[in-house]
Amino acid sequence: MAEHAPAPLGGKLLTPVTAVLGALSLAAAAVIVVRFIYGLGAVTNLSDGFPWGIWIAYDVVVGSALACGGYTMAILVYIFNRGEYHPLVRPALLASLFGYTLAGVSVIFDLGRYWNVWHMFWPGYSQVHSVMFEVALCISLYILVMWMEFSPTFLDQLGFSGLKKKISKLMFLFVALGVLLPSMHQASLGGLLVIFGAQIHPLWQAGMLIPLEFLMTAVLLGFAVVIFEATLVAVGFNRAMETALLAKMAGFMHGLLIAYLVVRFGDLILRGAIVSAFKPSLEAFWFWIESICFLVPVWTLSSPARRNNAGTLFAAALLLLLGGFLLRINAFLVGYETGEGWSYFPAFPELIVTIGVIAFEILAYIVFVKTLPVLPAQSATH
């Protein structure tokens, strides 16, 4: 496997792409400054009818799920012992690292009384029955664990070889935690909705099954995002595709996708909630768009021929990403109603922050792969 040894890509850091990404990040930073001076109301459309907007529903809930590539790859490589996927681990882990770190940072922008955030983990304040406590604890720990998992990549360059050795010895523990923690908080991110009860439309209020549905789709999103990133990296940095490897992985995805749909639709039918999907409403409309995003890949991924076609595989991954995104946005925003007369659509500055955070993530990813050994060395690709 030595031919897969990762190496820095090298190359110029300032390109038109990175310049645009940098500009978007700066725009977001400007909005955030305004937010901290004039308050949340100055830059968002939040209200007491929609106390959570896209900074939570997208930046945290979707953002962290999109950052599940590292988690999914860790399951595949270290738990199911599929060493052949090893080349995918590092790039996936890097994307996860940024995704999660920024999701964690975004929370601070959204917290009204951010200076008290440490109360979350302070005995006497912590309220362990709160789903949010669990989410916050597991996400924070996972971010630490990921930096540990990723640290061998940069500790060498920083000249901490001794520390690197020690961390490498304990790597199995970080890997185990790196599977446990996301499993817990991805489930709990859905679990946040349970206490909203009937304020969540029946198409998404699956009660005790929400955590399972969110967990299964988080793993699916992890797979999808690895395909997505691998394809973009191949195209963007003009490298050979790992299609064979990805196609094989798509087999796992297919099985998991079917299992998810059995749970999702089984629950909707058993609860009778499926009926509301056939009544014309905004919720029903978005439910079907979401469902189509999950149903089409069932077909796409069912044949090895389609799985081995980089284009179709990419399309299937895109649909799954969209489906997982919609499930979360639908459950947290479209399907949330706390009484009549409230509506929400993100304000422009709110969108700027979300876009800027994504831009910053991509920017950081590009800088890292160019300067650190993340991607498998070019000469070794098939």
Binding site: M1, P6, F36, Y38, G39, L40, G41, A42, D48, P51, V77, Y78, I79, N81, G83, D110, L111, G112, R113, Y114, N116, V117, H119, M120, Y125, S126, Q127, H129, S130, V131, M132, F133, E134, T153, L155, D156, M171, F172, L173, V175, A176, L177, V179, L180, M184, A187, S188, G191, L192, V194, I195, G197, A198, Q199, M208, Y336, T338, G339, E340, P373
Partner: protein, 322 residues
Amino acid sequence: MDRRNFFKSSLAAGAALSTGRARARETRSILPEALGLLYDSTLCIGCKACVAACKRENDMPPEFLPRTEQPYWDQPLDISGKTLTVIKVYRHGTMDKKDQEENGYAFIKKSCMHCVDPSCVSACPVSAMQKDPVNGVVSYDKDACIGCRYCVAACPFGVPRFTYDQTFPQINKCQLCKHRWKDGGYSACAEVCPTGATLYGKVTELKAEATRRRALKPGAATTYPRGKLGGPDQSYPGVAAKYVDRLYGETEFGGTQMVFLAGVPFEKLGYPNLPPRSDAATSETMQNTLYGGLVMPIVFLGALTYIAKRNVKDDEQGGHHG
């Protein structure tokens, strides 16, 4: 402990879990000393003395209609970061008669229900929302609050409100005027209510009063207490009203410490039909099942560590390095 043993004992712990300790969290029941309000919609004349008194006694700022040309007096349309209680109006058709569903109108109070099993308390990650263990009043501590607004989203009545327009925002909600107790005071809204539509007292006594009213024959002569049950007698003669057959707050989510009587169905007055089981109980049962005593996470971690230890090693021998 070698890892094989660790794995085994983890499994044993898992088995202990599955043999079923009761982890279900039941809906809480009302505290014997619970304090609250009885609001009788049929007695309310919509004067909003309570709204004004609530503002004054809780130091809340006035609120003006958007684009109003008369920013002279407080004009809240709903509870908000600036307003802890409002009186709302139900209107239908010609609005001929009070407390009538068809072609009628009715008043309804909106403020914290002081739930028996509050979603806000269960949701709050930092114990900023607390339910008093004796009188059950649900209070808010802004010095603990992180401003996450999970309570706002969770409350089935849409009660906690946030001051989005402030640099250093906070939640505002009715705390039953607990700050007035030390001087022998009680809820300002009940104290000023001229008709006793809002009445303060122990929930057991408030419920007994509600039962008394519901048993009266509509139109019969009776008396209505005002202010505080068990306080100085301020009762006055009145006529029994016709109620819909329901004491709102008796069973909803295990009950609330603010209870309502009305002549118009409660759904029409903006109060949801809630099941007897609280969302807090469901949410905490889920949490306990998954994470109770950290049993499941530890078992899972044990198994994962065992597997990872084997596979990560293989991987390193296979040439994994940085």
